[in-house]
């Protein structure tokens, strides 16, 4: 899928007269409401500022395409929005360009970039832009009493009906353990042991017959809307947008959320490396990050952005701050996805997960 945000750019280039100098940067992201928010908050202002073009492409995550492009010496993508574990792994395998955080713009309040970014959001080859979260949501019109804890998701006695779950062990094993009573802080310690993994699978097993598996981020709101499931795990932004834009009667349960980062990376040998670098620096600035938060409920990673987060772009009454994964009320029982654990155990757990599915 390709979208070319060139109409505006062309018009602008014509007026400003920089058509000759214009670069065309290919930015790859996850599609849907998320890409839409990036186009509004990052692409359009950057195009307006530089007169460059942006080709926006969608993908479904993973390092495979980047690896293939880099190894073939035929890199087509300039900027890619990736998950943390992929960013780390890509960096370790030399697939990504490195960033120098000191060259990034300071916050609007004057804080240097290195200090302005939240801890654990800046890496050698990747700079985060948002905090997102895997939560679970339900259709309030379908359930008579509202679930409130992560344990409720796994309780098909109390809340009968189908569950939507991502067809991937990541976040599911963590949620299963939390539902089984493991405190958030101990989840990964438990998962390191074989018994812990068994325990997580046993918990998943208890609802296996009621599960509808999803793979793309756009599926869960659809499953809920179609009545295919009564509750489903989902990315919080997708559910928020279904509620805000389409007035769906969905409710998010933040208890037991597993939050993660999305980061920008530049594949090694990107064709427009300079322009790509400029785009990343611009996009992770205080204002664009804050602007994005008015399009989707993913949290900005700069401290200086927090105070600028306002309300949903076309609904002034809809304050965004309480819908962020990082809002204090939502963080009461929350877990950060441990990229190192997943980098170590992904292959093995995937295998075990698939074998469990096939049983």
């Amino acid at each position: 899928m390709k979208r070319v945000t060139t109409v505006l750019a062309a018009a602008l280039a014509a007026t400003v007269g920089v058509a000759n100098a214009a670069d065309t940067v290919t930015v790859v992201s996850w599609g849907g409401a998320y890409t839409k928010s990036q186009i509004e908050a990052y692409h359009k202002p950057w195009i307006a500022r530089t007169g460059n073009f942006i080709v926006s492409e969608d993908y479904n995550g993973g390092l495979a395409e980047i690896k293939a492009q880099v190894e073939a010496g035929n890199v087509k993508w300039d900027v890619v929005d990736v998950e943390l574990s992929d960013a780390i792994r890509g960096c370790d395998e030399g697939l990504l360009e490195e960033f120098d955080i000191s060259t990034f713009p300071a916050g609007t309040d004057g804080t240097a970039a290195a200090d302005d970014f939240l801890e654990g959001t800046v890496y050698d080859c990747a700079v985060a832009n948002i905090v997102w979260s895997t939560i679970y949501a339900y259709d309030s019109t379908k359930l008579s009493n509202a679930p409130s804890t992560i344990a409720d998701f796994f309780d098909v006695e109390k809340f009968p009906g189908k569950r939507g779950i991502r067809k991937n062990p990541k976040a599911n094993l963590e949620m299963a353990l939390m539902a089984d009573g493991v405190p958030a802080g101990e989840v990964y310690d438990v998962l390191e042991t074989e018994e812990g993994v068994e325990r997580a699978f046993a918990k998943l097993d208890s609802i296996k017959d009621s599960v509808v598996w999803w793979e793309a981020g756009a599926q869960p709101p659809q499953l809920l809307a179609d009545g295919e499931v009564v509750m489903t795990t989902a990315y919080n932004g997708r559910i928020f947008n279904a509620v805000a834009s389409e007035k769906k009667p969905f409710e998010i349960v933040w208890d037991g959320q597993v939050w993660d980062l999305d980061l920008f990376v530049i594949p090694k040998g990107a064709p427009n490396k300079e322009a790509a670098m400029d785009f990343v620096k611009f996009s992770t600035g205080t204002e664009p990050l804050a602007a994005q938060a008015s399009w989707i409920s993913y949290g900005p990673v700069r401290k200086s952005s927090s105070s600028l987060v306002g309300s949903f772009h076309d609904q002034p009454d809809l304050k965004m701050d309480v819908h962020m994964p990082t809002a204090p009320n939502n963080m009461k029982n929350a877990l950060q996805n441990n990229f190192e654990f997943w980098a170590d155990n992904q292959d093995q757990l995937n295998e075990q997960f698939n074998a469990w599915l096939a049983q």
Binding site: D92, E93, E228, A343, A355, A358
Partner: protein
């Protein structure tokens, strides 16, 4: 006698002349297909062979950690690793860290011993600052370095040629003594998937035959005007993307979908107990049968079109009932079409991937979905290659059996 001898010489001469005359024709024919041959070689045979070799050639570790590889070759896998081995390992890690290749090494070893990835990447960051004695300082960084299993995993990974991937593809694991045994039950997946793939492909073939045969018969016997219209209806799905067709099935079969709505409307089931028609094996079977149906109908149609109606008429005039005439006379003549259609559907089905990925749910996905997973997500291309190799061997074996039983000549595509 003399005459026969002279005749023999003449024969030889004649043969020579004939060969000479034919040679020109042959070489001209050969040159005509040279571009195609080259194209196939470069774009088809080459990549496949190259990719299949990845299943048993893996020089990631040996090329990126050359000194360690050399010293591991002399190690017997059982004695405690020596200080020298630790020193060489640290030296290699420093270089790998500088070259940004440590991630590849870590990924490689992690396949043989899960949980070692971060061991390598985090240690490598500090490797340059480590000092002798390296054994102690390494164990000081991470206790795991004292674990002999890590070293055994490195030794396994350092082999350039390995059967490990094929073993993994067959749900076997390699013991430290080099023998293979079956994988732990909870990690056995590939054999299950392979048998499921074969089963689904077989069922899809049967369903396609059951549905396609009457359609093809109708097409072949109706007047040309009607049958052309019907043929377009059969071909129509060919012009629609598989994705769209599969998605349409989702809309049809999901529990709030058209089919279930109708069943509820007619009181066949009630609203709370709608049928699960999709996101399971049934969904895969339905959608794949629909999508692959033209592959069955077309060869059948072309074979049936070539059977003159006089055969069945002759059978009837000889006293056969409609049923006997069909089974004894008509059906046997359609065997080449059945053979072609069945093998076409079966082989396409065995490698099918988009449809099961979308509607397969937990028990309707196939081996190709796993291959795709290893290609795109786990990036374990070697294992993907091994799985592809296994799949290819299975298909070729089945093809060979088919040739033995039915005969490949007994197949007609049109």
């Amino acid at each position: 006698m003399a005459q026969t001898a002279a005749g023999a010489i003449d024969d030889k001469l004649l043969k020579k002349r004939l060969d000479k005359a034919l040679f020109r024709n042959r070489s001209r024919a050969f040159f005509l297909v040279v571009p195609l041959l080259l194209f196939l070689l470069v774009a088809f045979v080459g990549p496949i062979v190259y990719f299949l070799t990845r299943a048993f050639i893996d020089d990631t570790f040996s090329s990126l950690m050359p000194e360690t590889t050399a010293i591991l070759a002399d190690w017997d896998s059982t004695t405690e690793p020596t200080e020298e081995m630790y020193a060489v390992l640290v030296a290699d890690m420093v270089v790998a860290r500088e070259n940004k290749t440590i991630g590849k090494v870590a990924t490689r070893v992690n396949r043989d011993k899960p949980g070692t990835r971060s061991l390598f990447t985090s240690t490598a960051r500090k490797a340059a600052k480590l000092e002798a004695p390296f054994k102690e300082s390494l164990i000081g960084v991470k206790k795991k370095w004292g674990d002999i299993e890590v070293w055994q995993a490195m030794k396994t990974a350092s082999a350039k040629y390995t059967l490990g991937y094929y073993a993994a593809a067959l749900d076997l694991k390699k013991n430290s003594d080099g023998s293979f045994e079956r994988q732990d039950e909870k990690r056995r997946i590939h054999i299950t998937l392979l048998t499921r793939t074969l089963k689904i492909s077989f069922l899809v073939t049967i369903f396609c035959l059951a549905l396609g045969y009457p359609i093809a018969y109708l097409l072949a016997t109706l007047p040309a005007k009607t049958s052309n219209l019907l043929l377009i209806l059969v071909l129509l799905p060919f012009w629609t993307s598989i994705l769209v067709r599969t998605t349409a099935w989702i809309a049809m079969l999901q529990s709030q979908g058209v089919v279930n709505d109708l069943l509820v409307y007619f009181g066949i089931t009630n609203d709370d107990s709608r049928f699960s028609l999709i996101y399971n094996q049934l969904g895969t079977l339905i959608a794949m049968t629909h999508i692959l149906l033209p592959f069955m109908v077309l060869p059948l149609y072309s074979v049936m079109k070539g059977i003159p109606p006089s055969y069945v008429r002759a059978a009837k005039s000889l006293g056969a009932t409609n049923w006997t005439a069909f089974w004894r006379v008509y059906a046997p003549q359609t065997v080449p079409g059945i053979g072609a259609g069945a093998i076409l559907v079966f082989i396409v089905a065995i490698g099918y991937y988009i449809t099961p990925a979308l509607v397969g749910g937990q028990d309707g996905t196939m081996i190709s979905n796993t291959i795709d997973d290893h290609m795109r997500k786990s990036l374990n291309w070697n294992l993907a290659a091994a799985l592809g190799g296994v799949l290819m061997v299975v298909v070729m074996t089945l093809y060979w059996i088919y040739d033995r039983v039915v005969g490949i000549d007994n197949m007609k595509l049109g």
